[in-house]
Subunit: 253 residues, 2 copies
């Protein structure tokens, strides 16, 4: 498994670039195969639709068991809301069967979307933080609400992955309502879309001003804690950061 | 600012490698300058002791304002418990003064320690997670306790940074007590030390079996959620992963 990082090869690790070049077969969600770049002559791509992670994992392990040199690609880091867990779960389920026993699995980490987004706007993740996926396809929405409430109450910075999609139009709005119980309207929010890719946009807004319809599936939303600050420098560039010092009072919430 | 990733150049992004090669001056905590690799003939290193982040930021910005091409190095990702926030805070404080007004600051993200550690053992970060620094040098210990309790109660996976040092010997033990209120003894725990560097060790244990004296400052501790699983494959390799599916009941806690 290879993490592609946020976009092109500039943000990819050297070991990831090397493994991608060596593989005979690339397996992944179609946009991530495009992100991985053009194939070499000896390479074959196996695109999958979104959400079929278990089928993708089994397909890749079957190919590897048949002797191919297979890379499963994930955008960002394969260990964070991506393919690594589906592949390891498949290995676990295969323990008594053994059809993939001889497959050697290596996971190469990548720069996750929250780190890439944060770097563009300053250092909003400078303190304790939570990464939460707002997708309720594989977990009950009640669990997500409970986590948002707990994380906001304890004054974590939040990075929201998969904030919205065509099939999940209301989840982000509901999440922002929960966060607004604990945070003032002026709380800095960073919206980072397509970081490292064509059409990248990264901008600072606030919890009160954020309109969920500006956000889509390719956006990471970083909501500051009560100590997160925002300023505009002399050149007009916006900065957001969360100081390392935390005041000597327990967080409100 | 450049994130070195977990260890050597193999886990570093191409843009980070390129910036490091171009810089005239490298500023950082001494072990990170060693990690960055040997200097080229045109380069000068400026090592700093630990904890002097504000002084390090001001020194680097002064050098850059004087026309040097300066890189501030951080291990992992500069935005996560590292130098980016100190530099951006310095820029904020300089807003009315303007002595660093003409310095152009770019932040290049890196693979953070939790991602690198997780990749070695499987996919323990496969679900919603919190990154918490156990260092109470810059924040009150009460805030850390509150966050550990909230994160464990809402069934997040936890990645604990700076778990222990010579000057902070009891913090990890106390943190584990708090987590044990919410999690069974069998909860999988991953201890990852020196990932990507000489003397790397990554191993799986459990919340009940973990002995804090096995842990040091160079270790990242990943504590699973109630759904995190652990198994040993036919070759004797340990795996830990957190499935993407979450059961249809609210988390206990």
């Amino acid at each position: 498994m290879v993490g592609l990082g946020p976009g092109g090869p500039a943000g990819r690790t050297a070991e990831a670039v090397e493994r991608l070049a060596q593989a005979t077969d690339l397996v992944g969600y179609r946009p991530y195969l495009t992100q991985a770049g053009p194939l070499a002559g000896h390479q074959q791509a196996h695109p999958f639709p979104n959400r079929q992670e278990s089928a993708r994992a089994a397909f890749a392990l079957d190919l590897a068991a048949a002797g191919r040199d297979v890379v499963v690609v994930s955008s960002g880091d394969p260990g964070i809301f991506a393919m690594a867990t589906a592949v390891v779960e498949a290995l676990h389920e295969d323990l008594m069967v053994g059809r993939w026993r001889d497959v050697e699995v290596t996971i190469l980490p990548g720069v996750t979307a929250a780190s890439a987004a944060a770097a563009r706007i300053g250092a909003p993740l400078g303190h304790d933080l939570c990464l939460i996926s707002l997708s309720d396809v594989l977990k009950p929405w009640e669990v997500i609400e409970c986590r948002l409430d707990a994380a906001a109450g304890a004054d974590f910075v939040l990075a929201l992955y998969n904030p919205l999609s065509r099939h999940r139009p209301w989840q982000l709005g509901r999440a922002l309502e929960i966060l607004a119980r604990h945070r003032p309207e002026e709380t800095p929010v960073t919206l980072a879309r397509n970081v490292g890719r064509d059409g990248e946009t990264v901008r600072a807004t606030t919890l009160g001003a954020l309109d969920p319809t500006e956000v889509d599936m390719r956006t990471v939303v970083i909501v500051g804690s009560t100590t997160t600050r925002q300023f505009t420098d002399a050149t007009g560039r916006d900065w957001v950061y969360t100081p390392r010092h935390y005041p000597a009072v327990p967080p409100a919430g």
